[in-house]
Symmetry: C2
Subunit: 193 residues, 2 copies
């Protein structure tokens, strides 16, 4: 998606070896207009697939995911990273290791929100090692629901997340794919959308 690539080049900051900071429009300050455009483009790719729910993970996935959900006219569910005393009913969980935060966390979704009639589109802001998406896939499969695909805002294609997810027979579509960082600059490969 050209609009997103331009924005990454304009406002993204490459930190160290493999961190791209996009906190001015995606992960901390959020540009609703870009989110809305991205939501439409991701939704269009799955519009004829019979999606019943969009699933993401808190917190940076929520803004792009809600606009995908709006465009597809379905509910959005955000998986929780932290336990909450109001989550008392049956919950589905998966362990997710975050290389960024260097911690393993238990990601969960209340089981009542997913069942075997659901066909789910997963949406997330980043795909790097694929651990978060893999955790969401595990949870959705525990519920007996099927998965149409994983829609990603920014894919770090030099890490093995896409391979991991495609090996689970789940297709991946990314709005921007980063081939590498070169001299602190982002080099893209051709995106899916």
């Amino acid at each position: 998606m050209q609009l997103l690539e331009q924005r990454i080049l304009q406002n993204g900051n490459v930190l160290g070896e493999n961190i791209l900071k996009v906190d001015s429009f995606l992960t901390h300050q959020v540009d609703y207009q870009l989110m809305k455009e991205m939501g439409k483009v991701l939704a269009d790719a799955y519009r004829d697939k019979g999606i019943t729910k969009v699933v993401t993970i808190e917190a940076s996935g929520i803004a792009p995911a809600i606009y995908v959900a709006e465009s597809l006219e379905v509910p959005m569910i955000f998986a929780k990273k932290h336990k909450n005393i109001t989550m008392t009913e049956g919950i589905l969980t998966a362990e997710v290791y975050s290389f960024t935060k260097q911690v393993t966390s238990t990601v969960s979704i209340a089981s009542k929100f997913l069942n075997e009639n659901d066909h789910v589109l997963i949406v997330d802001d980043f795909l790097a090692n694929g651990q978060a998406a893999k955790g969401l896939i595990e949870i959705i499969q525990q519920a007996g629901a099927s998965i149409a695909g994983v829609g990603i805002v920014i894919e770090k294609s030099f890490q093995d997340g896409r391979q991991l997810i495609e090996d689970l027979d789940v297709p991946v579509s990314s709005l921007a794919r980063i081939e590498k960082f070169e001299n602190g600059q982002v080099v893209f490969k051709e995106a899916d959308l």
Copy 2:
């Protein structure tokens, strides 16, 4: 807001003494259509106030806040509850105690996103003891920005959050105000919006 009150009566669950669970449309599964309607109503109340930024706190505040931001055509910032290694630059912080989770956390916003020219609308899903909103007010004031008000989805009016915020000279507007829970049922008082 009648639509929201109806939804709370229909889908909210009262747990114990003072917990209202609205995870089927707000805090876990999210109804984009309701969020969009709420966003418009909250935005309308502040449309002539010269708002430059909408500020919320991860994670449940993000969906309502992005639609307020969309309706006001300004960026949304979500404060972080957890430290992240990509947050390396100057950050503004406040301590926030969560009675729900029974932990104190450090809430933060990167200082580059707020300055003395900003006039901020705070949006959050719940107002109970007011600790989260108070933390956001402290951060925004540290940045030298001014605050137009706090826009709340569901206010527990039997707790002292509104008083705490109004004592800081910040106006509060709530879409739904809960006077009490009676026999497991929600009793509303007149909402602001």
